[in-house]
Subunit: 376 residues, 2 copies
């Protein structure tokens, strides 16, 4: 992956850099790729560029490989990986590149905030000016009232993720933060302050897929996709039975655990989609790592920190690794592959064997989960 943050390059530069790193890592420079899957949300809107997968195939000389772009809001990365995986599983393709990328900092912050909001319900939400931080704020308030979550818990999640990011050279925000510092930061969408909200990042991340039986041709440390889950929910939050439940996360993780033949307790490390710190808390419950309404108590005990029961967002998460919307799903994958290979240095989870990525689109109406396992 590229270092997340404000980048000098354009989208193609980012995608090409991450892709070439993945191809080199897989020692596949001289192989013919069958297909290229590109995850991207906003290239047309921010860069006036469409059909970016064709451009990437050309740029890094993978022509005539098949190429297509997946867009699924910030879950584009998960969608691209899933479809690449199913294409390999079908027998049609034997060598596939999956790359997620987004160039966000060319546009002004208010423009990006508006563009990201285009994934909300067009007539029930977007048209009324709702932004994603506003939705995050409302979910946080509900959790505070119902489950006794306090602002201090949000700050603790932020402190953990900033600390992890300090150990990740690819992270956007390389700055320690304290509970007091977070709680004194600017208010963004009450009760969400600056430190409970992810930054806007440029970045790209990529991986190479092949059938498991061919993986040994490329690496002695293959990582197996053990299972996936993918589910939608009704789009307008007002229409959900319980707005404090992320049903798509529940269903997608249930599917993924079933396909993998695993349970939440089998997972050693996870990357969750903390566009807002409340989401790390709610997702960790709806996936089944913690009981509903109890995750913040686990955070208090350090259960999700490095060395804890289930380290979450060792990369720094969206909060501190950064959130380049179309790239985020693949950035989660890259972190977990490194964890399973034992290549994470100071932020390594000891002997990590099984990992889970939760890539979250819309405001919870489209979730893609993947479970990975050491393949050797």
């Amino acid at each position: 992956m590229t270092k997340f943050g404000r980048s000098q390059g354009d989208l193609m530069d980012l995608l090409a850099e991450a892709s070439m790193k993945a191809i080199k890592d897989a020692k596949a420079e001289k192989k013919d790729f069958d297909a290229v899957y590109v995850a991207n949300m906003l290239a047309g809107e921010t860069m006036r560029q469409t059909a970016v997968a064709s451009s990437l195939a050309d740029r890094i000389s993978l022509v005539p490989a098949a190429a297509e772009r997946l867009e699924n809001g910030p879950a584009a990365g998960g969608s691209a990986l899933k479809n690449a995986y199913l294409a390999v599983a079908s027998g049609a393709y034997d060598l596939v590149l999956v790359a997620g990328g987004e160039k966000m900092t060319t546009a002004d912050t208010d423009v990006v905030t508006d563009l990201v909001a285009t994934m909300t319900h067009p007539t029930a939400e977007y048209i009324h000016g709702v932004t994603l931080p506003a939705m995050g704020g409302m979910l946080t308030r509900l959790y505070m009232e119902r489950y006794g979550l306090t602002e201090r818990h949000l700050a603790m999640v932020a402190v953990k993720n900033h600390a992890n990011a300090l150990k990740n050279p690819y992270a956007h925000i390389q700055r320690a933060c304290t509970v007091e510092g977070a709680m004194n930061s600017a208010m963004i969408a009450d009760p969400l302050r600056l430190y409970y909200v992810c930054p806007i990042s440029d970045g790209s991340a990529a991986a190479v897929l092949c059938p498991l039986e061919k993986a040994k041709e490329f690496t002695n440390k293959p990582v197996r996709i053990a299972g996936f889950g993918h589910a939608t929910d009704v789009q307008a939050i007002q229409e959900r039975e319980d707005p404090a439940v992320l049903k798509s996360v529940q269903l997608a993780s249930k599917q993924a655990f079933k396909r993998a033949g695993m349970a939440p307790k089998d997972i050693d490390v996870a990357e969750l989609h903390d566009a807002f710190e409340i989401l790390e808390i709610v997702e960790s419950e709806d996936i089944g790592f913690f009981e509903k309404g109890k995750s913040h108590l686990a955070v208090e005990k350090g259960a999700t920190s490095l060395g804890g029961e289930i380290p979450i967002n060792t990369s720094g998460g969206l909060k501190a690794r950064g959130h380049a919307v179309g790239a985020t799903g693949m950035a989660q994958v890259v972190e977990l592959v490194w964890q399973l290979r034992g290549e994470c240095g100071e932020r390594q989870v000891k002997d990590a064997k099984r990992a889970l990525a939760c890539n979250f689109g819309g405001f919870g109406n489209n979730t893609v989960i993947h479970i990975f396992e050491r393949g050797w």
Copy 2:
């Protein structure tokens, strides 16, 4: 599919209409769908709406089905079908909806022309103001100089496609045209006149996919996907070995014929991507229906007309059925399914058993081909 043309509805209305028609046709109203694949090119740019697949799943009550949008320029439809097909082939999904849709007429014509051009090479082409009609014009000129194609041949293709569209109630342009009329129409991009260029359309088309062995639960006339091909080419036309050769069409069709165990002569009816009439001519050669540089002679003899050797674009093609970019690939599929089922009325190709769709992205740098066969 919806009637192509200028529509009152928005993108979601179009996608929902086509999807519900497909679901009803498959008698699958009460079934649980596993996934929804949406093909769309420009929703973010023209309607400020992203993650449209999640919206569609919600709108037509397919939640919690997985959902994602494929964008591959005007080949988005082919890409969506391919990935849905591979997902079913992998064994992961048993019932999938594929819907392509585009709402183009909300934006001004010059805006749409510019947006479509965003699929060209960003620094070698787009930035210099090249449009797709300009590229079509240059390819036409080259064919005229090299192979003896005349404007009259382009007019004959247009006349044929307009005549077919008159027999297709879903076609955008319901108007007969004559060779003389076409040759006296306004110049768009020399030598391309109005009648050699597709219109800008709103529209949507959809299909339901399942494993072949389950198809009989839904219909007594299932259509089998016999094979697909998908290939890219270098993006900037100036870098291609021969700009008169659509290499991605050659490679994709070769793959498709190989997977299907068929040859061009086995195909009874085809839908080709005639965004410009020259493209129908060149594609029909690069697929292998006719020898290179000889297709216009076949057109003269009526080989591609109804009743001819290989009827092409019985729907009216992009020229007269219309071109709603993200929907076009699926509109081709719907026409061919109807042909194979014998449901095309006046434009029916007698006893059609095997059909081919060529969905063309960029200016020939990304082509998806599908071959269909009667499954009963």
